[in-house]
Symmetry: C2
Subunit: 415 residues, 2 copies
């Protein structure tokens, strides 16, 4: 049974045009005019709507929505050591499931169909994503030493879940030894999993590493074979041109998290222009809600574009089209899924936007309207892998998700 | 006939508590518990909602929504000289009315109850604001020389309108001579009007002035008596501490437009900390939609807070509470209206927020949720001067406003 979206504005990073889109099973079957309704096809009237590829959030810690606005406007160490970490220590597997359900609801509502997660209790993350119908790349965060066997079992369990991409999540070079990073990469290779890692978020991180190891972070990671197309490196703020070209040569992808970088003061804006020049795949992430404080990829697209313009003093830098590409095709490429374009054969992960709103009026340039004027609330209907997970602004069981999360968060801080 | 909001979360820059709010005529009558419903009182069930002071947008060119996303990602001069100005030359008084209606719809939907406008055809701006029920401080933009008599007639016409605050709008020191600025200030004094002016938006502006006049901009403006509590200076990015303290001593207010400053590359972030230290009244604006590209004050609060943190490298800088104060009480003070707090005697300009959403879940800190997690779409009901202008997400005549604006914008670019 498929879906036929009729007379809709079709928008992806290549541009916009009018037409019909048919979905067969989990993929986009046809894009054209006057497409025939097949037996059993569900028909969606696309008039006054635009269909875009579902947005891909390549760096988050979903369950941290439970800590949304719990500790803001603080110095980084105070924020992390005295507020966030003590609460995280108390998180149970069920808390993570409840929190991730809230995150998935928020992401669906704002047009995100795939997210790349790194957190504790990976099984609960995967279960929550499956419950809400969102595609997820799930990695259990690895800090310090870890049992390879336990990780391998986890990866196999993740593979059994619907729309779940298994990943290994070594936290960062300051929290995991080079030996363990080497093991993590080998493990990912063996189980055909992705690798999710924090790289060069702060100057302190890269300086401390160089002082300790006597060489640069990227150089050291390359020596142990950690750099590969499987690797999604979050942040990548403090990289020089040599490191950027090295990451590009190895096919690594970077996840830019502009709102989080600004809120936590990463210290500068990632060097998008140099990354572009070296064809490094730059994608977009919200980071966890504790440092953002939402998971709205529309907002992150605007922050990405405006941060580049402001920080580098050039209003022509990082256009709306480039920001949209980061949040769609580039994100898909980073996670190894055939998505991010409205094109036959691509995954039917799409969002329908309601164009009957001030932010889309007038209609001089829909990509500019999407990136600079709109926010996630313009999303009307969301389809993931050919399944409708939100329709006309309604997500099944929404109220329960909100109530459970409220209760769990209250309990967590009082525990 | 009044309004009684029962069992609502009452939030303003001072904090949050539960209670009832009663409105009598155009002002807030009582705030407390178990308030009595008076005869003819309209009752609003506040459960699951928060009431906040309506947001005050202290710098915009409302009708420029007609140029939303018409020319983005361009160098400033190319943007202004080759794209924006040619279109603006063609704007008729009716275009401005239609455009301002769209802007008012957008502002109401995102909880803005008062906006400070500077544009052409002030009568049309005032008429549109009156039609949509929004409070507006309206100034006819003055460029080059102007006929004092014509301006004075305009001010008197504006005074006759409901919820309209008359203002004089000399554009900037690079587009209006010091003599004319002096006349404008005297005119405002004579007619008890506000003054709306662009000040120190770019480095070029202040450097050129100093080269031409042999003195600083603020110093020169003070000498001609231009600085007073009537003056709202938009931007104020390029001011040193001496100038900031001088503006503060004269009771001038500044409108910070973070999204516009970032998008157009003003070059740095306004020095909020020094302004605070000198008790300069800092308020918040979206600027025109052509340089933002929306009029969402929720988004501007987040941009203001994150830009300060990023630009000055301090995550504790400009807290959510301070951003909220800028967008409410500070804005009211700048425009000389008794608004911005949920307090008896204050104008009944309020917005009700729907708390049954992911962005307000969980509820560790509602001010942080409002500034960092929410966007304008959380606004459910809006009251201006005791009149309901939006209820449960519905604004009367919305579709017509959108259609007229679409048609007018299309016609404008093809004219």
């Amino acid at each position: 049974m498929g879906i036929l979206i009729q007379g809709v504005r079709i928008v992806d990073a290549r541009g916009a045009h009018e037409g019909d889109v048919s979905i067969d099973g989990s993929v986009i079957a046809e894009v054209g005019h006057g497409l025939e309704r097949k037996a059993g096809d569900r028909v969606i009237d696309g008039r006054g709507k635009a269909v875009i590829p579902g947005l891909i959030n390549t760096h988050t810690h979903a369950a941290m929505v439970l800590l949304r606005s719990y500790a803001d406007d603080l110095a980084l160490s105070e924020w992390l050591k005295n507020r966030i970490w003590p609460l995280e220590k108390k998180l149970t597997s069920e808390d993570v499931r409840i929190g991730t359900r809230l995150a998935c609801l928020e992401m669906v509502r704002s047009g995100t169909t795939t997210f790349n997660d790194m957190y504790f209790h990976g099984d609960s993350v995967a279960r929550a994503a499956e419950e809400l119908g969102v595609r997820a790349c799930v990695s259990e965060v690895l800090i310090g030493d870890f049992q390879t066997g336990r990780i391998e079992e986890g990866l196999e369990r993740l593979k059994a879940r619907r729309n779940v991409i298994p990943a290994v999540g070594p936290h960062a070079a300051y929290s995991v030894s080079l030996d363990m990073l080497k093991n993590a990469a080998a493990l990912a290779e063996r189980h055909d999993a992705r690798v999710h890692f924090h790289l060069a978020e702060t100057r302190e991180e890269v300086d401390t590493f160089r002082a300790r190891e006597g060489k640069g972070l990227v150089e050291a990671l390359d020596e142990i074979g950690f750099l590969s197309p499987r690797l999604l490196a979050a942040h990548g703020v403090w990289l020089d041109e040599r490191e950027i070209s090295q990451l590009a040569r190895r096919g690594v992808s970077v996840s830019h998290c502009p709102a989080s970088n600004m809120k936590l003061c990463a210290g500068k804006a990632l060097d998008y222009e140099t990354m572009e020049r070296h064809s490094l795949n730059v994608t977009l992430g919200t980071d966890g809600a504790a440092s953002n404080n939402n998971l709205d990829m529309f907002e992150s697209m605007k922050f990405a574009a405006l941060l580049q313009k402001h920080h580098y003093g050039n209003p022509a830098r990082l256009s709306a089209r480039e920001a949209f590409r980061m949040a769609t095709v580039n994100g898909a490429r980073a996670l190894g899924i055939h998505a991010g374009l409205i094109e036959p054969g691509y995954l039917a992960d799409v969002a329908l936007l309601d164009l009957e709103r001030p932010c889309f009026t007038p209609d001089h340039d829909i990509l500019s309207n999407i990136v600079y004027a709109a926010r996630g609330d313009c999303v009307d209907t969301v389809i993931v892998g050919g399944r409708i997970v939100m329709e006309n602004g309604r997500v099944e069981g929404e109220r329960t998700v909100l109530e459970e999360a409220r209760k769990t968060a209250r309990d967590l801080v009082n525990r």
